[in-house]
């Protein structure tokens, strides 16, 4: 091949390949949003398991990646709907019933209210129960189930029972017994909540779950600090018969040592009406106190 | 087609081919050592060599099917890689394979299009050509049903279809019966009479002797010699085959240093030119009857064997 032809053909190769990459992005953009069918490929988990000819493990992993990606994309867009999450998880766990992370992670994010999750408690509970059925000696799953019952459904009795069952599994984490006890005595308190989330953080290996637990713990800190700050403001009001205008006033009055920062590192905001709120509620989605009106 | 005597059809300028062999430890294997060769236009040139000498390698290099490690060639004055050259040369590969699901007419039509022969010319030439190579009856039979000899004829046809000025043939007589070989020989002579240059490789000396103006000998990748056939034949020692009846004269003939072979009543002796007269004199006896005297030998064999042997000596 002459030198000239070689150069021309090489340029053609590079140009057409590079252009194809750019056009591909346009194709992605033009492709209609994945309908449920697209994301699932095939809706029937049983059929899929049989069709996968023994490679169900691999297929389960592929579906698992789709779950994570699906959730991630939706979450990024602050979506309020996660319709495909439950079916996807159902397929994944049918293909591989021992994929523990799918149960743990899946039910956590199924249960949480949007936009942090699908807000579907029924599905979450069903999923974990399925996990326990196939993996009766995995004590992590009892924590997950009990947690949903405690946190989401506020069914402390059921939660206590679950933790109790879990604690009887060989090699179970000792925290399970303590959790069961707390459910029966002190279920509604902040302390219990902190203990629960700390336990989740300690015993889980999944980074998303741990990050989620940390976030909850941070929100609990806010739930504790905001009432404390508001009571300081109240004492100021009682003393000076008006609301403080800024943190600096409180600092000069000796009530505070410095500008109070929330767990994300942002200063709390002192409102004119004496209420304390956080600057960026999006970063602390689980707080009950300090939410801007 | 006009050639000036001075025009050179083929120049091989130091073509060389080495192969790397082996997967882990690569070694070099020499296919062709660099050599120079010139073939003037209008000549029939015999590219001789034993099997495995590198004749097919040379032809594949010239046809652009493989690429040389070094060196170049010129065909009809142009670089051998020039696509324009290809429409002026014809090639018959060794043991050619053609698309067996095609008929010879379809094959020639396809090849003709690729060589740039116009549709009108193809319509005229193909039937004539098939007739000329004796395949007119099988013009519409699929090639998968052809014998080796028939395929060879198709090969010749496709090599000359586009009326090239130089024709390259790789072992054109291989696998043919005597009839087939004679036909090919006549075809080559006819091509040459039309003014075409013919370059063909063979290991059969008799064919080269009969057809070529000049020959070269290739052995183990090395060009060992080039010679003009007429001169070589002239230089070769001539012998005569003498056949007679009459066992009585055998001792006299053998006394001259000539060995005799008896087959029934006939006796045959191969006699050097120098001793011929003496032997014939002995056969004028009344108990001997001369049957025939035939010149034999005067062949390229010596030239060939010497050149091949030289290489062997050099190697040891």
């Amino acid at each position: 091949m002459s030198r000239r032809s070689t150069i021309v053909t090489s340029l053609l190769l590079i140009a057409s390949f590079v252009s194809s990459c750019f056009v591909l992005q346009r194709v992605e953009a033009a492709y209609p949003n994945s309908s449920l069918e697209d994301v699932l490929f095939i809706s029937s988990p049983q059929f899929l398991k049989r069709a996968s000819l023994g490679y169900s493990g691999l297929l389960a992993d592929i579906y698992w990646m789709r779950v994570v990606q699906y959730f991630g994309t939706k979450h990024l867009r602050d979506s309020m709907q996660y319709k495909a999450l439950a079916p996807l998880l159902d397929i994944t766990t049918t293909l591989d019933p021992h994929l523990i992370v799918a149960y743990e992670w899946g039910s956590t994010f199924l249960q949480q209210p949007p936009p942090s999750g699908a807000g579907d408690e029924q599905a979450a509970v069903a999923l974990v129960r399925k996990g326990i059925e196939h993996n009766p000696n995995n004590w992590h799953l009892y924590i997950t189930l009990g947690f949903i019952q405690y946190q989401g459904m506020h069914d402390y009795l059921a939660a206590a029972k679950t933790f109790e069952e879990g604690s009887r599994v060989p090699n179970a984490h000792p925290a399970l017994k303590a959790m069961a006890a707390k459910m029966l005595t002190d279920a509604g308190s902040l302390d219990t909540a902190r203990f629960m989330w700390q336990s989740i953080y300690d015993q889980s290996t999944d980074k998303d779950i741990r990050r989620n637990a940390q976030l909850h713990l941070a929100c609990l800190v806010v739930d504790q600090e905001v009432p404390e700050l508001e009571s300081i403001v109240d004492r100021f009001k009682t003393k000076f018969e008006r609301n403080p205008t800024s943190w600096r006033e409180l600092i000069s009055a000796g009530a505070l040592r410095g500008v109070p920062l929330d767990p994300t590192g942002q200063p709390y905001i002192l409102r004119a009406n004496g209420k304390v709120t956080v600057s960026d509620p999006k970063k602390l989605p689980f707080i009950h106190q300090g939410k801007p009106a | 087609m006009f050639h000036s005597r001075d025009m050179v059809a083929l120049e091989i300028l130091g073509l060389e081919k080495t192969y790397t062999v082996g997967f882990w430890r690569k070694t070099q294997k020499v296919g062709l050592k660099p050599f120079h060769l010139e073939v003037p236009a209008g000549e029939v040139f015999g590219f001789l060599g034993p099997n495995g000498a590198g004749k097919t390698t040379t032809l594949k290099l010239l046809m652009g099917l493989t690429f040389p490690t070094a060196g170049a060639a010129r065909i009809l004055g142009r670089d051998w890689r020039d696509p324009a050259v290809r429409s002026r040369i014809g090639f018959l590969p060794e043991q050619p394979y053609f698309y067996d699901y095609l008929t010879p007419t379809e094959l020639l039509d396809y090849y003709g299009t690729l060589s740039g022969v116009s549709a009108a010319d193809r319509r005229i030439r193909i039937p004539k050509l098939l007739e000329r190579v004796g395949l007119a009856e099988h013009a519409r039979v699929q090639l998968r049903k052809f014998s080796k000899g028939m395929l060879q004829r198709v090969g010749i046809a496709q090599a000359v279809l586009h009326e090239p000025e130089v024709v390259f043939l790789d072992e054109p007589m291989s696998g043919l019966d005597p009839v087939g070989r004679r036909e090919i020989r006549e075809f080559i002579q006819a091509l040459n009479q039309e003014g075409k240059t013919v370059f063909f490789s063979t290991h059969i000396l008799a064919d080269a002797q009969a057809l070529c103006h000049r020959v070269s000998v290739l052995n183990r990748g090395e060009l060992r010699g080039v010679g003009v056939v007429a001169e070589l034949l002239g230089k070769a020692r001539k012998h005569f085959d003498v056949i007679w009846e009459g066992a009585a004269v055998i001792p006299k003939v053998e006394a001259l240093g000539v060995s005799c072979h008896v087959a029934g009543d006939m006796i045959r002796a191969t006699v050097e030119e120098a001793k011929l007269q003496d032997v014939l004199n002995n056969l004028r006896a009344p108990n001997a009857r001369l049957i025939s005297v035939n010149p034999v030998g005067g062949s390229l064999e010596e030239f060939f064997l010497e050149r091949v042997a030289q290489t062997a000596e050099v190697r040891s």
Partner: protein, 258 residues
């Protein structure tokens, strides 16, 4: 040049026909005919969906298999059988040869797909008793399948220009499967870090993104396909094939024939 490329293409098509590649149409017809009574048993609403899914999936599978297996033999068979010698000794460029082969096989698949499409519409007519405007949508899905074949042929040619028939088939098939999961590759890239991330991201562009060429389910449910998607997919398939064929030409031009 065009005449030579055309001659190679036509000869490739002729070879495919005489090699009885088109006999797969008989299998396809048998498949449809065998399933037709089954389909009539099912309730009317699902009939059409099932027929479309079945036919288009069959077209896709048959076509892809032909693209791969005939595609890889295009070059390797000729080298093995030395039928290439008298061809390349003529004024045919190596590139012209490859391009001619490409168009020849593409044409074969176009004819094949056309015949299957006709068959499909006939069965549709028989079962549904009438053809509506919505059925024209199916043509778009079939067109996308053709684009898919173009891409696969390009890849098959590329691999067969330098490796053995067996390896070529494996590589082409592997890339096709990877391309069907291209979206997941991209998702994987997003959740990965470092070298793995970069590698997956690059891979998602190198593999042929045939998953975006599959709109069978969508069409079965009568959902529309935007003109933009048709346009971009066409351009993508052409560009990708062009790249594959260019690469095949470059490699084949350097190849010493045995």
């Amino acid at each position: 040049m065009r005449r030579r490329v055309g001659a190679v293409a036509f000869n490739t098509f002729r070879e495919a026909v005489r090699d009885r590649v088109l006999y797969n149409l008989i299998l396809f017809a048998l498949l449809l005919v065998a399933c037709a009574p089954l389909i009539s048993e099912i309730s009317v609403g699902v009939q059409r969906v099932l027929l479309i899914n079945l036919s288009l999936t069959a077209i896709s599978i048959f076509g892809t298999v032909i693209s791969i297996f005939v595609g890889i033999s295009l070059v390797s068979k000729e080298i093995e059988r030395k039928t290439l010698y008298p061809v390349l000794a003529r004024p045919v460029g190596r590139g012209e040869f490859i391009v001619g082969k490409y168009f020849g096989l593409a044409g074969t698949l176009a004819v094949n797909t056309f015949a299957m499409t006709v068959g499909f519409y006939l069965v549709l007519l028989v079962i549904m008793r009438n053809v509506t405007a919505a059925d024209a949508n199916v043509l778009i899905a079939i067109y996308f399948l053709l684009l898919q074949f173009l891409v696969v042929i390009g890849l098959a040619l590329l691999f067969s220009s330098f490796s053995s028939p067996l390896l070529s088939a494996l590589f082409t098939l592997a890339l096709f499967v990877a391309g069907s999961f291209a979206q997941d590759l991209r998702g994987f890239a997003e959740s990965a870090h470092g070298v793995t991330r970069w590698f997956s991201w690059a891979a998602s562009y190198v593999v042929p993104n045939v998953d975006r060429l599959n709109v069978i389910t969508r069409v079965a449910h009568d959902e529309g396909i935007s003109a933009a998607l048709v346009g971009y997919n066409t351009v993508y398939a052409l560009l990708y094939s062009c790249a594959a064929v260019s690469a095949a030409t470059l490699i084949f031009s350097r190849r010493n024939l045995k």
